[in-house]
């Protein structure tokens, strides 16, 4: 009897926590498709707000995808070879490098953005272009790619595979393409999902780095929260959810697959 009571109490508490997380999302989704949120859902269901958001903010949404995929490209080209180099080289220098590239996870985005602004803010052409935001996103997401790939290297004994291929006469470049990258694939995919998800939702850095002509999806969100009616802001949030939730689900499935291995 007492066990049942404890079970019921814990279940009730957990449901309450879940409600705290889910109810606002449901509110937001319903507000985004309601004709008049103040009068409630009986005022009718509409897609007009979603269409309006699309007309107003399609540019922001497009730029966010451009930046997310450019960030992914840079972190892949720079991060995957570096993860291999750091793993094979080992030693103190590698640990120091790993430690430094991980710092942006600890230092608030606001500080990194200020640092970038104070250093490169004077270079007008660079400051005005979306490449400026790209640098911030690359610095912020790089550790996720490097560490995700290094985690795979730690578990598959890459050194033996690498030396085996080398003893058969494969050049370093051939080995990298045909042995290292295929073996690192799970880490590369997990890292990529993480990088794209984080870049699409990044606000702390981006708000400081953006210009009126280089607004991203989350910058537009903040803009709509401040200046648009609640229905439009909700519809915009709805569009964001539709874009980000599949990525989150894919990431979770990946994590579960990794655990089972």
């Amino acid at each position: 009897m007492r066990d049942r009571l404890i079970f019921a109490g814990q279940l009730g508490f957990t449901l309450l926590v879940a409600a705290f997380l889910v109810v606002p999302v449901v509110l937001s989704i319903s507000a985004g498709v309601t004709v008049n949120y103040f009068r409630g859902i009986q005022s009718g269901v509409t897609l007009q707000w979603v269409v309006q958001v699309w007309n107003l903010y399609a540019g922001e949404i497009g730029l966010s995808f451009l930046i997310a995929f450019a960030t992914l490209a840079v972190t892949l080209v720079v991060g995957v070879p570096a993860a291999y180099g750091l793993h094979v080289k080992g030693g103190r220098l590698s640990r120091v490098i790993e430690e430094i590239i991980t710092l942006p996870l600890a230092i608030p985005g606001l500080a990194i953005a200020l640092a970038l602004l104070l250093t490169y803010g004077g270079f007008g052409g660079f400051r005005q272009s979306w490449l400026f935001i790209l640098t911030g996103h690359v610095v912020f997401t790089m550790p996720f790619m490097v560490r995700s790939v290094m985690a795979v290297f730690a578990s598959v004994d890459i050194k033996t595979l690498d030396e085996g291929a080398a003893s058969l006469g494969a050049s370093p470049w051939t080995r990298f393409c045909n042995v290292i990258v295929p073996n690192a694939m799970p880490g590369i995919l997990a890292g990529s999902l993480m990088v794209v998800t984080l870049s699409l939702g990044e606000f702390n850095l981006t708000w400081m780095l953006h210009t009126p002509l280089t607004k991203t999806l989350p910058v537009g969100l903040a803009d709509s929260y401040a200046s648009m009616r609640l229905e439009v802001a909700s519809a915009y949030t709805l569009i964001f959810f539709i874009m980000i939730v599949p990525l989150l689900v894919a990431m979770q499935m990946f994590a579960e697959k990794g655990e089972k291995k």
Binding site: L21, F38, L105, P108, V139, G201, F203, P218, L221
Partner: protein, 271 residues
């Protein structure tokens, strides 16, 4: 090309990118912080200047409250979810973890929908008591926002740690006559210590530096990231904002480094 050279070529792009877009800007930030009218003492202003000190204390208290509340909530829910199997459990776990990567701005908006001027709590309280309760734009709204994005992360850590616990220890304690509460207090909770330290540090550092939520709820919440933002954009006080953000960065980094040395695992904030 020798193997050694190839390794260096692999590392070179990362070193260049990190030096150009992280280390150099950080050095510049340090220099700007010391280059204002206050000189090096700008770095002490976060403690010596009463207005900044009050904000710092505010921020630390808020982050600490968030951390403690999140740990309590996530431990109760995480223990429950990991120790029981029941229909709908997977759905419940999904509901508790999906907000993991919501940006702070979105969390701020969700809090407004919950407790803002047109919010659900306001509507319910207005219907029940006739008085509309609105607290989204206060420090309590910010607290709720930080809870919102800390809970999923901490629940995942706690669940993973509970899974690794040796159930035999609890059974042994129980067979020796310990009450359920004593088993929790003396066996389960101490074993979860490292997970608490690691996930608590992440929650704390994230709450210290989070900007998006405070920005959306805005108005008159006095926390460090908002202070830095207003000093930089409105007052154009570059030296102070640089010094304050260095201070904020050092605090966040130190908390995480301390937690890492205590728990032995990898610890990182997210935002």
């Amino acid at each position: 090309m020798s193997h050694r050279n190839f390794i260096w070529i692999c590392l070179l792009p990362l070193v260049v990118v990190t030096a150009a877009f992280f280390l150099l800007p950080m050095a510049q930030l340090l220099a700007v912080g010391a280059g204002g009218s206050r000189g090096m003492s700008a770095y002490l202003a976060i403690i010596t200047e009463p207005r900044y000190r009050a904000t710092l204390i505010n921020t630390v208290v808020l982050a600490a409250a968030t951390t403690i509340a999140t740990l309590v909530i996530a431990t109760i829910a995480g223990l429950f979810l990991q120790r029981h199997r029941f229909p709908g459990r997977a759905v419940l776990i999904a509901m508790l973890t999906f907000p993991l990567a919501f940006p702070g701005v979105v969390v701020g908006f969700l809090i407004i929908l919950l407790a803002g001027r047109q919010g659900l709590i306001g509507a319910i309280t207005a219907a029940v008591t006739g008085e509309k309760v609105v607290f989204a734009y206060s420090i309590f709204g910010l607290f709720l926002g930080y809870l919102y994005f800390s809970i999923p992360r901490v629940i995942l850590t706690v669940m993973a740690a509970v899974q690794k616990l040796d159930i035999g220890l609890e059974e042994a304690a129980r067979s020796l006559g310990a009450s359920p509460w004593a088993v929790q207090r003396d066996v389960v909770l101490p074993a979860l210590g490292p997970a608490f330290v690691a996930s608590g540090a992440i929650a704390f550092a994230t709450a210290m530096g989070a900007f998006g939520t405070a920005f959306t709820l805005a108005t008159n919440i006095d926390v460090l990231p908002m202070l830095i933002y207003t000093e930089f954009t409105l007052a154009a006080n570059f030296a102070i904002s640089a010094a304050l953000s260095i201070g904020l960065g050092v605090i966040a980094w130190a908390i995480l480094a301390l937690a890492r040395s205590m728990s032995g695992g990898a610890v990182a904030a997210a935002g």
